[in-house]
């Protein structure tokens, strides 16, 4: 009887662990840091969705992940003009999640394009069950003739 209870417990444990590990996966996005709560798991999912949208050029979707007050101030037109999609061969790696307060985190990421690695940080804010990204507008045009990075 004890043995049976043990095996049921083990099955449940494996099932729960399996569920916890299941996050959205994209070939150009890698998550190095581990999540420690469901909130962080949600962050990883939203982070992946957002950056996948930026790489695939789905700017409408990316816009929906931006902070509500930034969307309110700038609107879609300004956003489209100042925030550009990333190159298709860009690779993003989430390195570290640093909590600032209950609903605010700083995410450290590496953006890799060809042989260039750029360490960047960005702010994410948790509101009503999901995370929102804080964007920065490009003040100067890209003179290199390449994309954003």
């Amino acid at each position: 009887m004890k043995q049976k209870a043990k095996s049921i417990y083990l099955i449940i444990l494996i099932f729960v662990a399996g569920c916890a590990l299941k996050t959205v996966q994209y070939p150009n996005i890698k998550i190095t840091d581990r999540y420690h709560s469901l909130k962080e798991k949600q962050l990883i999912e939203d982070f992946s969705e957002y950056w996948h949208a930026r790489i695939s050029g789905d700017m409408k979707k990316a816009f929906s992940y931006e902070l509500p007050y930034q969307r309110y101030i700038d609107g879609w037109k300004v956003y489209r003009e100042t925030v550009t999609p990333l190159r298709k061969d860009a690779f993003i790696e989430l390195k570290k999640i640093e909590p600032i307060s209950e609903n605010v985190v700083i995410v450290y990421k590496v953006v890799r394009i060809k042989d260039r690695n750029l360490l960047q940080k960005e702010k994410w804010i948790y509101l009503d069950g999901r995370w929102y990204h804080k964007y920065h507008q490009n003040i100067m045009p890209d003179f290199s003739g390449k994309s954003e990075f």
Partner: protein, 247 residues
Amino acid sequence: MRYIIVFLLIYFQYLHAIDIKVQPDKNIQVLPSDVFAMKNFLKKKYHFIATNDDGVRKLVKENRILANEYLKAGKLNMNLLKVELEKRFADAYVRDLQKKIKIPQKVLKSYYYDHLKEFKQSPKVEIVRYSFNTYENAEKFYRQFKNNKQINVSDFNGTEKDIGIVDLDRVREPLKGLAQEYKKGYVSPPYIWSKDRYDVYYIKNFIKRGKYKKFDEVKEDIKKILYDRTFVKEREKIISSHMDKNK
């Protein structure tokens, strides 16, 4: 041709300008509605709540006298006044319409969380004020009180008033800055208020910056910030809808 177009534009603009007539007042008197308007103005512009109606009436009357003198001297530039007033009316109209736009809670909250540092509670100070009739007494008290808090203010013909605990943000400069620098135990040199009033301030206690203000406490401030940030956009929207109507 270009000059003709520019001239016509200015001319038509002039035709559509608001009509203002300003003349010196022959019989200067202050009505209760003037006092009410001035109180509203002081509250809106300087966050000052005036309770003394006589004082407000005096201020209105003085302004009226001086303004009349200005007009009599022929100093008024009517065109400048016109454009200034039009700008004020235009801005007020846009701001009025902006207030009718309901900003979603999510928008306000996202601003709050992103600017949390700006919404920290102000440090608090407990202040005691010592007032004197002469500078000599105030200075003597100040010099001794700095080293010995047990001395009696009445020995220097002064009075003591415990102001209590107040937000440091509400304390005027230079005391605010000095309190922030020296914190608890600071005694200010005598302040000269008038020829027979000299005050010495004592920071009895300094309570450091507290927690973050709650969202509900700052919601209205955030609304104002967002209205400011979207003012130009809103103005363009109103103008274009006005143009469409008049097509």
